[in-house]
């Protein structure tokens, strides 16, 4: 934790109109993946929207690689190296797979090997097969691959993923977990927002639990998995059962 943080969130507040959704979030993220766990309605998606600049009414501080993000337009934040895989995937139904990859302006990177359409196709051979297909006709798992591919092409240093496992079959979720681990190994920092304990703990060692717009506790995957009572308290019965 003493090492230089890639992402440092301090006292972040966010609002939808009059409702105060995020009520002072503090988070630090280095190279290690971090999972934010929480039930529905705890503000997880709002956190993602606030970090990516898609929610304008935000107060507090978000520093990414030394740069303040609060107040920046979404495209500026993306250009700094934050990739976003949103809840529900939100691929563009009227574009083909190939057009999704052509759309993304590619950020120049130094050091790391850059992501190209070919490298993305190598990671997801299924997408290569479906290159010319309209994205709206892909299966849920394929759409998830495409949403990840789209984010990877921006050459992100940090990938923010909002409930990527939602609505996917168990076998597809396993592949997804393997993909995320692979991405972490090649040096992409991952902020995974999840409802499912099993997915979160399979990807990240560090777990932050979100309750009512705040980070209620930070713990490790082992400790959370071993402590049923803690799971109950933090996540409620549904998440315990999903584990």
């Amino acid at each position: 934790m003493a090492s230089e943080a890639l992402l440092e969130v301090r006292d972040l507040h966010a609002y939808y109109g009059q409702s105060h959704i995020l009520q002072g979030i503090d988070l630090r993220l280095g190279r290690e993946p971090l999972a934010v766990l929480g039930r529905n309605g705890m503000g997880k998606t709002t956190l993602c929207l606030a970090l990516t600049g898609l929610l304008p009414s935000v107060r507090g501080s978000v520093r990414f690689a030394g740069q303040e993000l609060v107040g920046l337009a979404p495209h500026r934040i993306a250009a700094l190296g934050i990739g976003y895989v949103p809840q529900g995937r939100r691929i563009f139904p009227s574009l083909t797979v190939e057009e999704h990859l052509r759309l993304v302006p590619r950020r120049r990177v130094t050091g790391a090997e850059p992501w190209t359409p070919d490298r993305v196709y190598a990671l997801f051979p299924r997408l290569a097969e479906r290159r010319r297909q309209p994205a709206g006709t892909l299966s849920g798992g394929e759409q998830q691959m495409l949403a990840i591919a789209r984010a990877l092409l921006t050459n992100p240093r940090l990938l923010i993923m909002d409930e990527p496992s939602e609505g996917l079959a168990p076998v597809i979720v396993e592949q997804l977990v393997a993909t995320l681990r692979h991405l972490a190994e090649v040096g992409i920092a991952i902020l995974l927002v999840e409802q499912r304990l099993a997915v979160a703990t399979a990807v990240a060692q560090r777990i932050a639990v979100m309750v009512g717009g705040r980070i209620a506790l930070e713990t490790t995957a082992e400790r959370l998995l071993a402590d049923r009572e803690l799971q109950q308290r933090a996540l409620g019965v549904s998440a315990w059962r999903a584990a």
Partner: protein, 289 residues
């Protein structure tokens, strides 16, 4: 209806459809990408017509007038977007009120500048006069056929742009989900400004092209705003093929009903719109909201 009359009415419908398409396509592009219902769209038609006429009158070149109309209306659109609408994006009611307000102010300013006169254009000789149509056996104004060809060429060019170029991909993606376009690193505000300039510019160009069919005078702004609204509601907001099909439908229905029962012609277009709204509220080619 006799055969020559039927052919003439049909051709009139087709050329009117061409004009409606050129005006409405800018309206639908602006709505598709920005989600702004630009109620000042007709003002850009009229502005283009007046500026085009003035430039054509001074220089003696109709083509130069058309270019000036395009540029003037595009600049006007840019000014409206950057100066006013950018501050209130996402607030539908305010956007509607601001664009209505702008259209009223613009109408008065143009009345002050150009007066209540009717202005006639003189297109180049190559596209004026009449021509005897083979097979159909009737004579028809060359200029109206030019309008038809112009709209077809414009539609094809726009379709190629949307289908083949990266800009086209960005525009289609933005019609699907603007926020995700921003999240991959594209400056959507710049895209909005560009779409507004293009949409308004096309309306301005239509002011010259359409004004040359009959003439241009105050009041035309409201007429073409209304036509654009009906066309995009019937066709589906933000859809290029929808706009083309709806322009055809609306213009043909209008011309046939004018020929068959002139007294009630005015309400038939609205009837068409009402039927579409009842049967398919998102428009013929629109996606459900």
């Amino acid at each position: 209806m006799s055969w020559p009359q039927f052919v003439t009415v049909t051709l009139n419908g087709l050329t009117l459809a061409a004009l409606y398409f050129v005006v409405a396509i800018g309206f639908t592009l602006i709505f598709g990408v920005l989600r702004v219902v630009n109620l000042a769209h007709g003002s850009f038609y009229l502005l283009g017509g007046y500026v085009g006429w003035t430039v054509a009158d001074r220089t003696g070149s109709w083509v130069l007038g058309a270019v000036a109309a395009l540029v003037a209306a595009a600049l006007g659109g840019l000014l409206l977007e950057l100066g006013l609408l950018r501050r209130i994006h996402g607030q539908d009611l305010r956007e509607a009120l601001v664009t209505i307000g702008v259209s009223i102010v613009a109408a008065d300013l143009m009345l002050a500048q150009w007066g209540g006169f009717t202005y006639d254009f003189s297109p180049p000789d190559a596209i004026t006069g009449g021509v005897r149509l083979p097979l159909l056996g009737i004579g028809y104004p060359k200029y109206r056929l030019f309008v038809l060809a112009f709209a077809l060429a414009l539609g094809l060019a726009l379709w190629l742009l949307l289908a083949r170029t990266r800009l086209g991909i960005v525009v289609r993606a933005a019609i699907d989900d603007r926020d995700m376009v921003a999240a991959v690193g594209i400056d959507v505000q710049r895209l909005f400004a560009l779409m507004f300039a293009v949409g308004a510019g096309l309306a301005g160009l239509a002011g010259v092209v359409g004004g040359s069919v009959l003439s241009i005078s105050s009041g035309e702004d409201a007429r073409y705003l209304l036509a654009s609204l009906i066309v995009v509601i019937v066709g589906g907001m933000g859809s290029l093929p929808g706009t083309a099909v709806a322009a055809l439908l609306v213009a043909l229905v209008e011309q046939y009903s004018l020929a068959l029962f002139p007294t009630y012609a005015a309400i038939v277009s609205f009837l068409l719109m009402v039927v579409v709204l009842v049967v398919r509220p998102q428009g013929l080619f629109g996606r459900p909201a």
